[in-house]
């Protein structure tokens, strides 16, 4: 039995097998242990597959040994491998952090159910990344969404409940739109396998239903990915979720929907709809620009640190879509690279926030005054993560912005204007990160409830591993770069 | 023989349809809650038995007949029970049955 050929299936099956076990375990430390081990195992599988993909191996798996398009096919290429790395790494880091962080936020007897939902979210997200079947994507999207509603509603603040309810409504509308789109394409092509679909859409003479399908799929996934005018659910849902959950989901949940969007738009529609690249670009680009400018501006005036970072996430999704909307290999490379690097930066920032929240549960900006003295490590991590978010050379954030700018500059005059947008966005990021730094480092301690001690050691260690990963991938970007450039080439390769 | 059965079953079916109509009109036009329920119960019992009886004649001796008989038995058990539950709930929530025959509610009768 050669396990290597089953890796693609094991990526989902291992977490799925663990879920019932965790739900049955009533001991919370045991539940945590099993969940963490599962997540680490999933990470190991993702690493193994990444190595395989870089060596040119093609992970194609037929579920139940039925040939596609009759059965369900799993497929891992460079893009999915990158996504899987992000998902499993974020989950593992956040789970390690949750050992301490969760105790203050959720009653101990509910922990086992919480971890079961967590691993379900992990399985759902990795399922979306692995599968090559349009309907299977929907099923795993629902698993991950249901699980993430549960995770987000776990926070102690009652304002989290209406926020999650809103997310549930909008998320369900998004998923249902996706389902309508898939239904319309299925009606015209008779297949659900993405590869097969891409070939058969070309033969559809009349395009009205396919066009409607493209619209529904794009809008539905944009809702789930919190793309600019459809981002309304995100800030509150992230703010009131338990801190480790925010660290996990902010790093990967919206990106997975973006991944499906890229897959559909570049693999299925690109080749087949008349002037598709033009339509795609003209719709997405303004949205991306608005996202960068408006969301960054809102973040500048935000008073709660978590909400500030949540708004910054909306802006960063703008960068990713901006790269994709160029419809060139270099633009897509930058876009995919930013998926990876933003996950690193945002993940480590939210982990640092989790550290901070151990001593300062309110997380209001004004309470931060002078806290850097008592929590030097936490704030150093916040600053480094912030630098990566801004895109300072030497950090991961710099690499993707550099690639984005060089992709834009090939466009000529219009490109320069877009570069200006990126520069303005980055400057705004400087402002909102500076507001935290200023409060924490340069204000005299005024808050009587100021923290007296550093966060627990394990939490700090996890945070610092994440932060140092930012620096490492800022100096040694070879791995994500190789993955994202081959992913971009594969996506664009669909066009002749 | 077949002809007779066919005619008979259609008679039953149309009678069933008629009682459904009557029940529907009654449920809309009767003056109070309890009388409406009374009218609606016609569709539960009389109408459905007639319709299913007609269908049994159509089906002849087959597995479908057994299933239809099972449906009749099921309806005989459940529909009175549900009517009871509804009426009981109405009574408990404070809806008084009109015992003094004041049918001229709304002044419809002189």
């Amino acid at each position: 039995m050669n396990l290597n050929e089953h890796l693609a299936a094991l990526q989902i099956v291992v977490p799925l097998l663990a879920v019932p076990l965790i739900a049955l375990l009533q001991l919370r430390r045991m539940a945590w242990l099993v969940a963490t081990l599962t997540s680490l195992m999933a990470f190991a599988i993702a690493v193994a597959m990444t190595v395989g993909v870089l060596n040119g191996q093609d992970y194609q798996y037929f579920m139940g040994n039925w040939q596609p398009p009759y059965g369900i096919e799993l497929r891992v290429d460079a893009l999915s491998a990158l996504l899987l790395l992000v998902i499993t790494a974020a989950s593992s880091a956040a789970l390690l952090a949750s050992y301490h962080s969760l105790d203050t936020q959720i009653e101990p007897r509910r922990h086992a159910l919480f971890y079961a939902a967590w691993i379900l979210a992990l399985a759902g997200l990795s399922g979306i990344a692995v599968t090559a079947d349009a309907f299977n994507v929907f099923v795993f999207m629902e698993i991950s969404s249901l699980a993430s509603y549960v995770l987000m509603a776990g926070g102690p603040d009652r304002r989290g409940l209406p926020a999650v309810f809103k997310y549930l409504i909008l998320g369900t509308i998004g998923a249902t739109f996706y389902l309508i789109g898939v239904g319309l394409i299925y009606m015209m092509t008779g297949t659900l396998n993405l590869e097969d679909m891409a070939q058969r859409v070309t033969q559809v003479a009349d395009q009205k239903p396919v066009l409607a399908a493209a619209g529904f799929i794009t809008v539905g996934l944009a809702l789930k990915a919190a793309m600019f005018p459809l981002h309304l659910w995100l800030p509150n849902a992230y703010t009131y979720a338990p801190h480790v959950v925010t660290a996990f989901l902010a790093a990967c949940a919206t990106k997975v929907s973006l991944y499906v969007l890229l897959r559909f738009d570049f693999l299925v529609f690109q080749d087949n709809l008349v002037s598709h690249p033009l339509r795609f670009a003209s719709l997405l680009m303004p949205m991306a620009i608005f996202a960068i400018l408006i969301a960054s501006a809102v973040a500048m005036f935000e008073k709660n640190i978590k909400r500030l970072l949540a708004w910054s996430s909306v802006a960063q999704i703008g960068y990713i879509t901006l790269g994709a909307s160029l419809v060139t290999v270099s633009g897509l490379t930058a876009s995919v690279l930013h998926i990876f690097n933003h996950a690193l930066a945002k993940g480590s920032l939210f982990l640092a926030v989790a550290c901070l929240a151990m001593r300062l549960p309110g997380l209001q900006l004004r309470d931060l005054a002078g806290c850097a003295r008592s929590m030097p490590w936490t704030f150093a991590a916040l600053v480094l993560g912030g630098l990566s978010l801004i895109g300072v050379p030497g950090t991961a954030g710099f690499i993707s912005k550099w690639y984005l700018i060089s992709a834009l500059l090939t466009l000529g005059a219009a490109g320069v204007a877009l570069v200006a947008v990126i520069v303005i966005g980055s400057l705004m990021a400087v402002v909102y990160i500076w507001r935290i730094v200023e409060q924490a480092y340069f204000q005299a301690p005024s808050n009587p409830a100021a923290p007296a001690a550093e966060a627990p050691l394990t939490l700090l260690v996890v945070t610092w591993v994440a932060v140092l990963a930012n620096v490492y991938f800022g100096l040694q970007p070879a791995l994500p770069l190789a993955l994202s450039s081959s992913a971009a080439a594969a996506l664009m390769g669909a066009t002749p | 023989m077949n002809q007779v059965l066919d005619v008979l079953s259609w008679v039953l079916l149309s009678c069933g349809g008629f009682f459904i109509l009557v029940g529907g009109i009654g449920a809309l036009r009767m003056p109070s809650f309890y009388t409406r329920m009374h009218a609606a119960s016609v569709t539960d019992t009389m109408a459905s038995f007639l319709v299913i009886g007609g269908l049994i004649l159509q089906a002849g001796w087959s597995l479908a007949t057994v299933k239809l008989v099972a449906i009749i038995l099921f309806l005989m058990l459940t529909s009175p029970t549900s009517s009871y539950a509804v009426a009981n709930a109405a009574l408990l929530s404070g809806m008084k049955p009109d015992t003094k025959f004041k049918a001229n509610k709304g002044g419809r009768e002189s």
């Binding site: 249901l146 209406p162 549930l168 509308i173 009606m187 659900l192 | -």
Partner: protein
């Protein structure tokens, strides 16, 4: 008669939009969920409409029937899944609504917003 062949699609569109309208406009959270389940049901209708073949029967193979016409089984399989997804979402949404009612004392969206801004 030709146009009647599209009637199902129109009903799908209308019911879908009625559901969406309820979700967007109503303040009451339970009403929103009811709207959401109508919205989802409409999609079931879209899929099941596709599966019909003239003169077909349910796709259950019977011995002895020569050259039968079957309706398409695949959309049915997909919708079985979607129905279960629908009830799962509804149950989770209702659990959240119950928690909202307990901590805010109301299930009307504007009341909830008002109560949060009091803080």
């Amino acid at each position: 008669m030709e146009l009647l062949g599209y009637y199902n699609y129109w009903v799908f569109a209308v019911v879908l939009c009625l559901g969406l309208y309820t979700v967007i406009t109503r303040n009451n959270l339970i009403k929103k969920l009811l709207g959401l389940s109508i919205f989802q049901s409409a999609v079931f209708l879209l899929y099941i409409t596709m599966d019909k073949v003239d003169g077909g029967t349910a796709p259950i193979i019977q011995k002895g029937v020569s050259d039968p016409i079957f309706s398409n089984p695949l959309p049915q399989v997909l919708i079985l899944t979607a129905i279960v997804v629908g009830v799962s979402t509804t149950a989770l949404g209702l659990a959240i609504v119950v928690r909202i009612k307990e901590s805010y004392g109301s299930i009307e969206e504007d009341d909830i917003l008002a109560r949060d801004s009091e803080l």
